[in-house]
């Protein structure tokens, strides 16, 4: 099988995800965009593990990490909702020095 559609899918997913991260304002949607980017990385890892299985093994680790990330991310979103009742990332700027 030829790599064309794998590459196109992964590049497309990365670009769409990045676009989402920098333009969206709802934190859950930003998390979704991050998931898309992680999936794009996984597609490449899986598609090009031709010689051995290391790529696929790594992809499974990436899946585990992203599950952890969603878990913590959603907890933070929920807490934000409880604290502010308004989950707009533009309102969350406590990281400012």
């Amino acid at each position: 099988m030829i790599a064309f559609h794998f590459l196109i899918t992964s590049i497309g997913l990365v670009l769409i995800g990045l676009y989402g991260v920098i333009t969206l304002r709802h934190p859950i949607k930003i998390l979704m965009s991050i998931e898309l980017i992680l999936n794009a990385a996984n597609i490449n890892l899986v598609a090009f593990s031709t010689e051995n299985l290391i790529g696929q093994g790594f992809a499974s680790l990436v899946i585990a990490i992203s599950a952890a990330e969603v878990c913590v991310g959603l907890a933070i979103v929920y807490n934000l909702y409880r604290l502010k009742k308004d989950i707009d990332v533009m309102e969350v700027n406590a990281l400012k020095w």
């Binding site: 030829i2 676009y19 899946i63």
Partner: protein, 156 residues
């Protein structure tokens, strides 16, 4: 097979785009789930059977359901937040895409080939990737503890 996969990739990209574009949060979550499923199909087509199954189980199952649940928990009716800097974002992302694709990428390389059966992946995870595997189990554990800590109520 090749053309079927092309269609699936196309659908994955379209639904990923819809995740970003749709105004309704529930719709974007459903599109996300669809897009995850499509990626799972792509995995299966190169023989990564274990990963295909995991993709369906964890992404479309666990992650998708958790997203939906959180959307129901936190949604407020009638309020949609607009995107910001739409055009500048397209310019930046387009520039990045152009730079990645620019001279040419090898699209004729063969992909797939090794069968990613559960047995093989399991052997791999417990031999060569043992330390990353253990580290990730600790990361997962601390993520769970962290999430419960963040989300707990203060009053007891």
């Amino acid at each position: 097979m090749q053309s079927l996969m092309l269609i699936i990739s196309f659908l994955v990209l379209i639904s990923a785009l819809m995740v970003i574009l749709s105004e309704d949060m529930v719709h974007s979550a459903l599109f996300l789930i669809f897009s995850f499923g499509g990626v799972g199909a792509l995995f299966l087509s190169v023989g990564a059977q274990f990963l295909g199954a995991i993709q369906i189980l964890i992404y479309t199952g666990a992650v998708g359901v958790m997203m939906l649940l959180m959307i129901y928990f936190t949604s407020k009716e009638g309020k949609s937040i607009k995107r910001e800097g739409k055009y500048s974002g397209i310019v930046l992302v387009g520039l990045l895409g152009f730079l990645i694709l620019y001279p040419s990428i090898s699209i004729t390389r063969e992909v797939g080939g090794t069968k990613g059966l559960t047995q093989n992946i399991g052997r791999l995870l417990f031999s060569d990737l043992l330390i990353p595997f253990e580290v990730i189990s600790i990361v997962l554990l601390s993520a769970i503890i962290g999430a419960t800590y963040i989300i707990r109520r203060e009053d007891h």
